[in-house]
Amino acid sequence: MAEPSEPSEPPGRWGTARPGRRDVLRGAAAVGAFLAVDLAAFLTANNWLGPARLTPRRFLDGFNTAFGRHHGYRTNHAKGVSVAGWFDSNGNGRELSTAAVFAPGRTPVIGRFSAAGGNPHTADAAAAGRGLGLAFGFPGSQQWRTAMLNLPVFPDNSPQDFYDRLAATALVPGTGKPDPSAMTRFLAAHPPSARALTILKQHPPTPGFADSIFRGLNAFYFVNESGVRTPVRWSLTPLQQALPPSSGPNALFDPLVAQLRGGPLRWRLMLTVGAPSDPTDDATLLWPADRRTVDAGLLTLDSVATESKGNARDINFDPMVLPPGIEPSDDPLLSARSAVYAASYRRRTGEKTL
């Protein structure tokens, strides 16, 4: 390769000719402009420039304001136990979805019963939401995760409404209790949440975990072999009574643990088939009671353990972890749950409990 033929000074450590002042300015201006654009893009992407948006971080802060900061625990549904068992599919689900879990046969399951709220040491209350997170086929490539509640509908239909409700439950300094007028104001300003509250009041909770119906609440699309997409909501119907609540701070968890130590607990996985007119983007609305249901099989949970390394403690029950054959709907809560759960998981996996 020929060297440039024009005469030049001998190359020094940092190059040859001394550039003129105009060339220096030209280069400096270009570099300055590039770095300014680069920095502005970076700051905008990180939400440090531009209009304030609702971020996962603000949700975590909102929970911490309402429930206190508890290192190493989930930001919400902090109190829970790890369970394990299996799902026996009867093959009926294949009519709706190609997901491997619906083929006839057995899939191992890891799960977690939990109480709503961010305080892991809270005393059990019958009225508090009960959660059941399940990971079917974990940690396989076809795994399916879901986080369900013992409620007929979700109290809010958008991330902003959920955040506003959380803010309305914040404890007032001095009294240590939420401001009741804040919740009144919230419900007046959020009609969908007020409607949902009416439905929730019509469905009082059962005595315990074991006899609770757990529902996925958000709608999903099931895709079958012919490529037909069907809106579906799933739920777990209990096949046993619950032991009565005990006294003490673990009034609901103690009977659950005792019951699981005495023998397996079972739920039927029911798939509710939505009609095209049924809302898929609003978890505060019930679907009509006459919708067809498909009994997809039997969930059996037969072991229980304190949360510890390698069990349900370390699983993020992200509702967007779906197998091929199940797809998210347009419900805005799904992405928000995924985002906030991920932020909580990242934070708590770097913290030590106690």
């Binding site: 940690p139 993020n316 992405s335 996996t349």
Partner: protein, 186 residues
């Protein structure tokens, strides 16, 4: 002045493809971790971009090892040559490490590693929440390091091209000749 020699056509194509993919992936990465409504869709896109970048960078490593790059402008001194080599090496290292860290951290959280919609990659790390955290932190550190290294790279090329006027950038650009030029060159 003679025409500066260029990278091969394939090298230039791979370079600009990497630039576009990495810019998109970094930007989406920063946006998604701060968003609620578009998080799920952006994460899916980010993972797919990551695996495409990994493939492109692996092809580039092979290409770099089998092809000699064109000489630097004569004005680039001995010390700067060392800096150039070091920055090239760090960019390759960061570009390889970042998708692998992302893949490993999803694996350590228990997977699945979903890309291109329904494709599932094998997990490359054991299910371990503490390992996940270390990898997750590293994924952010490398993102910032990549941003800094790319900014330095672009600034250096701008200074060379606009201040030293050594046509450094032309080693990597495509020259689109006009019809008249093409016929003149015969």
């Amino acid at each position: 002045m003679t025409e500066p020699s260029r990278f091969t056509w394939l090298s230039r194509l791979l370079h600009w493809l990497t630039a576009a993919l990495v810019f998109a992936s970094l930007f989406i990465g920063f946006v998604m971790v701060n968003s609620v409504g578009s998080y799920a869709g952006l994460v899916a896109l980010h993972k797919t971009l990551g695996v495409v970048i990994l493939v492109v960078v692996l092809v580039r490593v092979v290409n770099r090892l089998t092809h000699r790059p064109p000489p630097l402008p004569a004005g680039v001194g001995a010390l700067e040559r060392k800096v150039v080599l070091l920055s090239e090496l760090s960019l390759y290292a960061l570009l390889l490490a970042q998708p692998l860290l992302g893949w490993a951290m999803v694996s350590a959280a228990g997977g699945p590693v979903a890309v291109f919609g329904s494709l599932r990659l094998p997990r490359i790390a054991p299910f371990d929440a503490q390992l996940f955290w270390v990898l997750r932190q590293a994924h952010s550190v490398v993102a910032y390091a990549l941003m800094a290294a790319i900014a330095a790279h672009i600034s250096a090329v701008l200074l060379h091209t606009l201040t030293l006027r050594d046509r450094l950038i032309e080693r990597m650009t495509f020259r689109f000749r006009s019809k008249a030029e093409r016929s003149r060159l015969g």
